[in-house]
C-alpha cells in the first residue's frame, strides 16, 4: 500500500479543489456517489455489528486496525451516498497515526460545504462517522499509554 501523503491537509486541499469546480448540488452529489463507488467493497467481517455505527437508518461500518503505529481504516455502507462520505474520510484519515487523527482539523468538510449542504440527518451521520474514527484513535492512544496493544 502506498505511503499516504505526509500531511492530511494536502488531501483535504485536493478534495476542496475537486469539489470547487462542481457548481450545483446534483454535481456534488454525483461526486460523492463516484467516490463511494470507487471504495473497495467491504468484507463480511467488516460488515458486522462490531463495526456498525449506531443510529444510521442504513448501516455504516468503519473498522480500524493498527499497523506500524498507524490506523488503517476500512468502511462500507449499503447506501451509496454514505459510502461516498466514508470514502472521503478514508482518503483524509486512513494511514494516519492516532495523534494525527485526533488533531486533524477536517476543515474540508466546511470548505466543501459537505457539513452544511447535507440534509441534517445525513450531516449527523457524517458527524457520527468522524466521531467513530476519532474514538478508535483515542482507544489506541489510551492503549499505548497504558503499555498494551489493542487489537
Amino acid at each position: 500500500m502506498p505511503e499516504p501523503p505526509a500531511c492530511s491537509d494536502e488531501v483535504q486541499l485536493a478534495i476542496v479543489r475537486e469539489m470547487s469546480g462542481l457548481d450545483d448540488a446534483l454535481a456534488r452529489y454525483e461526486y460523492l456517489i463516484a467516490q463511494g463507488d470507487a471504495l473497495p467493497p467491504g468484507t463480511g467481517e467488516l460488515r458486522s455489528e462490531r463495526y456498525a455505527i449506531p443510529g444510521c437508518q442504513v448501516s455504516v461500518w468503519i473498522r480500524a486496525e493498527l499497523e506500524d503505529g498507524r490506523l488503517r481504516l476500512s468502511g462500507d455502507s449499503d447506501a451509496r451516498i454514505n459510502r461516498g462520505m466514508v470514502a472521503l474520510l478514508l482518503r483524509v484519515l486512513d494511514g494516519r497515526t492516532p495523534a494525527e487523527i485526533l488533531t486533524a482539523d477536517l476543515s474540508f468538510l466546511d470548505r466543501t460545504g459537505l457539513r452544511t449542504q447535507l440534509s441534517p440527518v445525513r450531516a449527523n451521520g457524517l458527524a457520527a462517522m468522524v466521531e467513530r474514527i476519532r474514538a478508535y484513535a483515542r482507544e489506541q492512544l489510551a492503549a499505548s499509554s497504558s503499555g498494551r496493544a489493542s487489537r
Binding site: P54, Q57, L118, R122
Partner: protein, 438 residues
C-alpha cells in the same frame, strides 16, 4: 441555466388533477403544505395529491434521494408549484437537471388557486398544533400571531435529565422542561395527576395556556448511558402527550424542533428565562384520560376487532434481535401488536420525520399505516419501549384528526416485566406481517 419548458394555467392543472401519472410537487415550506397561510393567501393547504418537497431541501446534496424516496420518478410528468417563481422554478430546474423528462411549473397558486373557493385544497386537520419557527418568533416578540387566540404562551425546551442541553443554547424565552418532571422515574409512565399538576403549575402552565414544545436532536447513541438525553424532539412529543392527557387545551410542537429555529437563522441564547409559576392549573387532571391506555385496556384492545395496539419500534426490536434499551432485558414483541416502524433504533424516528427533522408529509405516514391496517375507524393505541416514540406517532395521528388515538403508556417495558405476559420473536408469518420492511 435550464429554461422552464412549460407553464400550466389554472385550468390546465385542474383538468389534469385526475391523471394518476401526474406528480404534483409543492415547493413551499412544509408548514404551508400542512395548512399555514404563510403569505396571507386566501386559503391554506395544498392542492390534492401534491407531494411536499420544499425548496429548502433543494440545497441539500442528497435532495435527489429525498425525491426518489418519495417515489417521484423521472419518467412520469412533474408539475411544480410554489408561492412564487422563486420557489417553484429552482425545484423544477433541479428535476430537469436530474434527468426528469417532463417538468412543468404552475405559477398561479396564490393569485388564482388559493383565491378561488371552488378549487380543492387539503390540509392537515390540526396543523395549528405543528407550528413553523416564524410563527413562534412572532408570538414571542409581538405576543400575538395568526391562528392564535391570544393569552399566555409558555415555550418549553424539552430534554431528559440534560440541563446542559438547555444551557448550551435555547430559544429566547424558553423554559427548560425535564421529562422527569412529568414521567415517573421507576416506570417512565406519566406521573400521578397530583404530580403532573404540580409540575405544570411550577412551569406556569394552566389549562388555558398555549404551550409550545421543542427539543434538540443531537445524535443519540444507543451505547450511551442516557441516549434519551440527545433525543430532545422526541422528549417534546412525549411531554406534549402528557399535557394533552392532563387537559392543556392548546399544546403545540415546533415543527422540526430547534433545528427549524436555527435553519430560519434565528438566534438562541444561554440566558435563563424567568419562570412565572401559577397557583392553579384550573381544571381536573386528567381532563382527557382516554388518551392514555394502561395494561388491562391494552389487553382488551388486543382482543377487540376494532382496535390496534401499534408497535412503534424498530425492526430489530420487533423481531426480538434486541430489546432496544440497555435497561430492558427481554426481547420480542407483544403478540397481536401491529408494526409501525419508527426508524433505526429506540431513539430515531426516520419513518416519522423529514430529513430536516420536521414531521414527515402526513399522507406518507397515513399510507404506511394504512398498509399495516392502522386506520382512523379503529381505536389505535401507540406504544414503544417507554412511551416516547409512541407519543410522537400518537401526536401525528392526533394532528390528522383521528377520533380515537391513545398511547399505551407502559409499552414494552411494562409488558415484558411480567413473565406471565406472552412474547413473540422472529419474523412473523406473512399473514400477520402487515408492516412492510424495506
Amino acid at each position: 441555466m435550464t429554461e422552464i419548458a412549460k407553464r400550466l394555467s389554472t385550468r390546465e392543472l385542474r383538468d389534469r388533477l385526475g391523471d394518476p401519472r401526474l406528480q404534483l410537487i409543492d415547493a413551499r415550506p412544509i408548514d404551508a403544505y400542512n395548512g399555514w397561510r404563510l403569505r396571507q393567501e386566501a386559503r391554506g393547504g395544498h392542492i390534492p395529491g401534491a407531494r411536499a418537497l420544499p425548496l429548502k431541501w433543494a440545497a441539500y446534496l442528497d435532495w435527489i434521494e429525498i425525491a426518489r424516496a418519495k417515489g417521484i420518478g423521472p419518467d412520469a410528468p412533474v408539475v411544480v408549484y410554489g408561492y412564487d417563481a422563486g420557489e417553484a422554478d429552482p425545484v423544477a430546474r433541479a428535476f430537469s437537471r436530474a434527468g426528469y423528462v417532463d417538468v412543468a411549473v404552475y405559477g398561479d397558486f396564490v393569485a388564482k388557486w388559493s383565491a378561488d373557493a371552488r378549487l380543492p385544497l387539503e390540509s392537515l386537520p390540526r396543523y395549528r398544533h405543528l407550528v413553523p419557527a416564524g410563527w413562534l418568533r412572532e408570538v414571542l416578540t409581538r405576543g400575538t400571531a395568526p391562528e392564535h387566540a391570544g393569552g399566555p404562551v409558555v415555550l418549553c425546551h424539552a430534554h431528559y435529565q440534560n440541563r446542559g442541553d438547555y444551557e448550551q443554547g435555547h430559544i429566547p424565552g424558553a423554559l427548560e422542561l425535564d421529562t422527569n418532571s412529568l414521567e415517573a422515574p421507576d416506570t417512565w409512565n406519566r406521573r400521578s395527576p397530583a404530580e403532573v399538576r404540580e409540575a405544570l403549575e411550577k412551569s406556569g402552565i394552566t389549562r388555558d395556556t398555549t404551550v409550545v414544545l421543542y427539543g434538540r436532536f443531537s445524535f443519540p447513541d444507543n451505547r450511551d448511558a442516557f441516549p434519551g438525553s440527545s433525543a430532545g424532539q422526541l422528549a417534546a412529543f412525549r411531554c406534549a402527550f402528557i399535557m394533552l392527557w392532563a387537559g392543556v387545551t392548546d399544546v403545540r410542537i415546533l415543527n422540526g424542533g430547534l433545528q427549524s429555529w436555527l435553519d430560519a437563522g434565528y438566534a438562541v441564547t444561554t440566558e435563563e428565562s424567568e419562570i412565572r409559576p401559577v397557583a392553579d392549573f384550573g381544571g381536573d387532571i386528567p381532563a382527557a384520560p382516554e388518551l392514555a391506555v394502561d395494561l388491562p385496556e391494552a389487553k382488551a384492545m388486543l382482543a377487540a376487532d376494532d382496535a390496534n395496539l401499534v408497535c412503534v419500534r424498530s425492526w430489530p426490536e420487533y423481531i426480538g434481535e434486541v430489546s432496544g434499551y440497555h435497561y430492558i432485558e427481554r426481547k420480542g414483541r407483544i403478540p397481536g401488536a401491529v408494526f409501525a416502524e419508527c426508524g433505526a433504533d429506540a431513539y430515531h424516528m426516520e419513518h416519522y420525520r423529514n430529513l430536516d427533522h420536521t414531521s414527515r408529509e402526513y399522507g406518507e405516514i397515513a399510507a404506511e399505516w394504512r398498509a399495516a391496517g392502522i386506520t382512523p375507524d379503529r381505536h389505535n393505541a401507540f406504544y414503544c419501549g417507554t412511551g416516547w416514540r409512541g407519543s410522537e406517532a400518537f401526536f401525528n395521528a392526533w394532528l390528522m384528526g383521528w377520533p380515537r388515538v391513545s398511547v399505551y403508556d407502559g409499552g414494552w417495558f411494562e409488558w415484558s416485566s411480567d413473565p406471565a405476559n406472552p412474547i413473540e420473536t422472529g419474523i412473523p408469518a406473512p399473514a400477520s406481517s402487515l408492516g412492510v420492511h424495506a
